[in-house]
Assembly symmetry: C2
Homo-oligomer: 339 residues x 2
């Protein structure tokens, strides 16, 4: 199998050195911003480099320094993960920041199954300078790679409280609080919640926010109003029907994502009640779904691009041996028609 390469010819240090009348070492110093070079030479080297349209050769630099300038962005390869528009936006945020910092994201969509699997092997093979993980249900691989010394950043708080791996996350607790408080302020007296998967930090945290809102408002928490669903339309619809059967006086529902909010609305309407007049509903995500659904879903917006960007910044900090700050991004409530 023969491979062809593009024809574009690039110039090298040797040519710049020749053109500028200095040595390759000096060219290297100038191009890497080393101070101790005579200003005149700096000028002539830069001029020569521009004249020749110099473009650095990443492979050569990588071979010499041991760093590749590449960061793996790993997504667990399971059907549900891929179709969530969330990840695409996160990727965009990462890519933007990296591009501005002369780094690149190597996208790897792959099963995170076993710690001995291909990915771990791969990541530890020195092909990348670090790895950002976009799905954290399975930590074994991540912990192994991290333990091996590879800079790692998680998107989404790890379930393990004691994890030392740096992460960035949306303030899901704050978001849940915001949504619930909004329903209270709107006059709701009995607010139920549809939770996501509580094994995921996002699910658990949004529920914590719901609880905290009760605490803050001095309202008693009725555990019976907490319905464990699993992010899906169907689960939300079923749980809502149950809630309504048992507590006909519910007048507000906080769903931990937009799809469940839609499921809740479907159930409410099926029971002949109106949204928001009888029951107000707030979702989470500000997804396209929430925007196009009629009635428009009032929802909690998270800064997804910002989340990706923050992850990239955190990785850059790690690569520079700086201690990264844990970034938790705040949310904003988007008021539409359902509450």
């Amino acid at each position: 199998m023969t491979l062809t390469s593009p024809s574009t010819a690039r110039s090298t240090y040797a040519e710049i050195a020749e053109s500028a009348g200095v040595s390759k070492a000096t060219v290297s110093r100038v191009l890497n911003g080393d101070d101790r070079v005579h200003p005149d030479r700096i000028a002539s080297v830069i001029e020569a480099a521009e004249k020749l349209g110099y473009r650095p050769n990443r492979a050569a630099r990588a071979l010499s320094t041991g760093r590749t300038g590449l960061v793996a962005v790993v997504i667990d390869d399971e059907p549900t993960a891929l179709s969530d528009p969330f990840w695409g936006v996160v990727l965009a945020g990462i890519s933007r920041v990296f591009l501005a910092n002369d780094l690149h994201s190597l996208l790897m969509v792959t099963p995170l199954g076993s710690p001995e699997g291909a990915i771990a092997h791969y990541l530890e093979g020195g092909e990348v300078d670090g790895a950002i993980f976009l799905q954290v249900h399975k930590d074994e691989v991540i912990n192994k790679v991290h333990a091996d010394g590879l800079p790692v950043v998680l998107i989404g708080r790890p379930i393990d409280e004691n994890s030392e791996i740096p992460f960035v996350d949306t303030d899901n607790i704050g978001g849940g609080l915001q949504a619930t408080k909004y329903l209270f302020d709107r006059g709701c007296s009995k607010v139920a919640t549809l939770t996501g998967d509580l094994d995921a930090s996002a699910g658990a945290d949004r529920l914590s926010g719901y609880k905290k809102a009760h605490e803050d408002a001095g309202r008693e928490l009725d555990l019976d109003l907490i319905a464990r669903a699993n992010w899906t339309f169907e689960s939300a619809k079923i749980m809502t029907l149950r809630l309504l059967a048992k507590h006909p006086d519910i007048d507000g529902i906080f769903a931990a994502n937009d799809i469940m909010a839609i499921g809740a609305i479907a159930a409410i309407q099926e029971r002949g009640r109106r949204v928001p007049d009888d029951i107000a509903v707030v979702g989470f995500d500000d997804s396209l779904l929430s925007q196009t659904h009629r009635p428009g879903i009032t929802t909690v917006r998270q800064d997804i691009i910002g989340l990706g960007a923050a992850a990239a910044e955190t990785m850059i900090a790690l690569l520079q041996s700086r201690t990264p700050e844990i970034e938790v991004l705040s949310t904003e409530i988007m008021i539409r028609e359902t509450a």
Copy 2:
């Protein structure tokens, strides 16, 4: 700014050679599958490599061969593009195939503005072996890069019929045909269509399919039933209201994507008509939207993972100097409630 690198130590040809008692040249031959090496030596080299946990150094190979093993995947950085779940799935398809072929996708989310912009410069800088473009409204950059000899694959048929750039695409004509024919078969006598942006091949092709269905069925095409919308909910709703005002006897609508189908349904219901009893509606994409919307949207499903995979295969063919076949993936109709 100091950068750290992971601690993992890797072995090299030199060590394998030493351990196996052969030269580096022989190690290279064995590891690259060169025939003319004595079987015994092949065995000992392989054994030594495994014992030492050898992992090839991509940078070294790249420097030596001029090929990087990296393929850029470029997405135009505009808000709408990013939040479309379509691209995430395409990326997954690409990534899977590349991973299995020892290639990697470098994700670049960046404005495709000017041909002189950073990306073109970048792509031509030899940092990647090829580029896959995920959005083809702006061809200048793509044409420039292609003209410069970089292997390029498009996802989505280029608007320019004469373009020589290889592409992969969904059979949008076939999909439009399928949807329209389904409405005919269902008994609809007057079927309108809501088009997407006709400057995009997907929009134009889905409309062509609609026309072809009329032709095939020997029905006369009423241009007045073709409403030019632009993929959005709002545009679809407005155009549908207009269609209904002028042609109250419309009994079927083919919307070129699911969001527009939802817009059409909103308009239809606003006019007090029922879906599908009075008017049947078919969308396109089989998006999450179409699945969770009530009533469930009957829609045309495209194989998005397959599209990404096909693009990757096409790129691999180009890299191996094989002439790639233009791949056009067929669609499938998903029958739900709206038609």
